[in-house]
Symmetry: C2
Subunit: 403 residues, 2 copies
């Protein structure tokens, strides 16, 4: 019995049938006594289609005009949803990012939200309406239309929930929640009733598809509980909240995997200050997103540095590293596409140091070689050969009794 923000992505509103189902669900939520605010994406692949159209028309595509173009999509979906709600006797009104008072900086195509004014949203709620807000968009301090980049509607939803003091932000998607492992790999994988923000952040960083990391971070920073659930089955999904210190933590919550990265190894690097800095500044200057970084202990004053980058960036990363090799005194630069990351996630790991050993033993017992290791307080990741990834996930899921 409170204010609920519901976010519906492109798949959830891909066509007229889906739009009507979503309207039915919103009407149901109202009948249960809740106030509802909706954040909605463009229908299906609309945004991709618009990008393709722009590419057909012009090689030059200023960010301001791309944002004007791309924000057409939510206009369509939100207006249609309001019509479907009206048909169901639910008063509704659509609001653009600008009308909703979502103020951003002036960085077109990946703007940051500076403020959510939300006056018209509050007025609509007070008038008994369901405000349907365009996701992914805002208006800059200079009154130009902006978009928030990929995953922008998740961010819109969470920002609205924070500004309005919502009891929960429900993220509707095409999966039924967060699982202990990918059910396509581990048939006995189980849906988690709840995870902590930190655990979810570690998962999204290592291959769990949703929701957008920046939205999860925003939710954590503003204490907005998330509920990740399905817009196809409508069953309850996974809650994401602050860790509850009074509850005993599961040691391991989930096993995740990620085959999207490649490994680069720079060998024979002199072990002296400034070498790593020079290398990673060079990569940062080319906007290459480095994830895991491992540096071995040095032998005879020489060490190896390995790091992972998105597979698409491998060629450019090798180029950068090879160009810097003489300067940093490296003997060789090697690239490897045939790697995948397998990770254990769990807030309980902090107090259970045995987890790492069990993980390594499990992989060894299955004859799976570990190419690279990195850890955080609630995550352990191992790089393995791509071919061993699924077996590793299954073995770890069994070893930690996650079924």
């Amino acid at each position: 019995m409170g204010l609920v923000v519901q976010k519906f992505g492109g798949t959830s509103v891909a066509d007229a049938d889906r739009m009507r189902e979503v309207a039915d669900h919103i009407a149901r939520t109202r009948r249960q006594g809740h106030q509802v605010v909706v954040a909605i994406s463009a229908m299906g692949k609309t945004t991709d289609d618009l990008i393709r159209l722009a590419q057909d028309v012009s090689r030059v595509r200023p960010g301001r005009e791309m944002d004007m173009l791309l924000t057409a999509g939510e206009r369509v979906s939100m207006a249609l949803l309001c019509m479907a709600l009206s048909e169901r006797g639910v008063p509704a009104a659509s609001f653009t990012g600008s009308q909703a008072g979502i103020i951003t900086d002036t960085t077109h195509m990946k703007a940051k939200i500076l403020e959510v004014r939300g006056d018209r949203i509050r007025q609509a709620l007070a008038a008994g309406q369901v405000p349907v807000v365009a996701g992914f968009q805002g208006v800059s301090q200079t009154r130009d239309i902006t978009t928030l980049g990929r995953g922008g509607t998740d961010t819109t939803a969470v920002a609205l929930a924070a500004a309005l003091g919502a009891a929960v932000c429900e993220i509707y998607t095409d999966v039924t929640g967060i699982f202990t492992a990918d059910p396509r790999i581990v048939p006995s994988a189980r849906r988690l009733g709840r995870v902590s923000f930190e655990e979810l952040l570690e998962m999204t960083a290592t291959g769990c598809p949703k929701p957008a990391m920046r939205a999860v971070e925003f939710a954590r920073n503003h204490g907005v509980p998330l509920h990740i659930r399905s817009s196809f089955t409508w069953e309850p999904g996974t809650w994401v909240k602050e860790e509850d210190p009074s509850m005993e933590q599961a040691i391991v919550s989930a096993v995740t995997h990620d085959a999207s990265e490649a490994k680069v190894t720079v060998t024979g690097v002199p072990d002296r200050p400034g070498v790593a800095a020079r290398l990673f500044r060079g990569l940062a200057d080319r906007a290459i997103n480095v994830d895991m970084i491992v540096q071995n202990a040095s032998i005879h004053g020489l060490t190896d540095i390995s790091f992972s980058v998105p597979k698409d960036d491998l060629a450019q990363s090798l180029e950068v590293a090879r160009a810097l090799a003489p300067e940093i005194g490296a003997t060789d630069v090697l690239g490897d596409l045939d790697v995948a990351r397998v990770s254990l996630i769990g807030a309980g790991m902090r107090t259970h140091p045995g987890v790492t050993a069990t993980m390594f033993e499990t992989l060894a017992a299955n004859d799976i070689n570990i190419e690279m290791i990195s850890t955080s307080s609630i995550r352990i990741s191992c790089m393995v050969r791509t071919g061993a990834m699924e077996e590793a996930v299954q073995a770890l899921h069994d070893a930690f009794k996650l079924s």
Copy 2:
């Protein structure tokens, strides 16, 4: 060498190729030393597609949400045009109706423009940019998005031209201008170099397809010269201006035709005050747009009233008239779909009373029966059988030597 407002409709920007051609033309206009402001419609049939989508989703379609939906179309076209202009080295910026300061009343789907603020348009011009403004849309006094109804982009263009003091408003279309008759019927029809606002208004009322009448009226009221021309051949077209009293008027400028209306005849009506009022109030209450009205002289205190209505409204018009028949004492109500209107238009008619006689003689000589006649100071219209329409147009075009 002044400010030119250029209006491009859906056909002019139907696809990526057309969009690039339009951008080329704007760049050319700039090179000729003009400042350019653009008013643009949605691409091709976008608006119709969006209406169909709404019909698929919901039987209830509030005007506010229809307007939110339909305004998505211009967002796409104007952003794409700005990209194409940028590619050609022409700095450009798109503006929604709201950003352009096009303030309307709150009548959704057929809002009236109350004011054009245009501050951002003037700023963009001062900064050397081509402002590309969304046609057909505005923002109401209550900050909701509105649309201007059919022909809305013509109205936007003319309103911008008036507010900015433009030298001319160029209406680009798929014809090369206004002709002395429809060239499909009269192969020797000639393009007019200029017509007066009044003549054009009479033409749009009787079957000349463009531009929107309300835009022409707006242009006349604000003294904005129009130039109707082709976005396919780019040749100079027809100028529409105030009548020039110093010039001798052509007696007849054009022969137009219109087969979109049906005729209703109410017979044996007592010739007393209030009868016509009762009938036409009944039709107006059903929002039926009556055009020609003819009442014959009464014989023995009874008269016949004939009027024309859009063919689509015939059934409803008959229903209304038949329901009122007992009350107004009519003996019969007859409908006729097999009629077409042929009109002579010409500012010179005012001072040449012989035109009407020549028209009737010409039709008689071709054995064409006249079913109904109505006149204004610069127009004479005759209803004829549909099958005789083309012959009538050709004969009149010859008789008045318009080739």
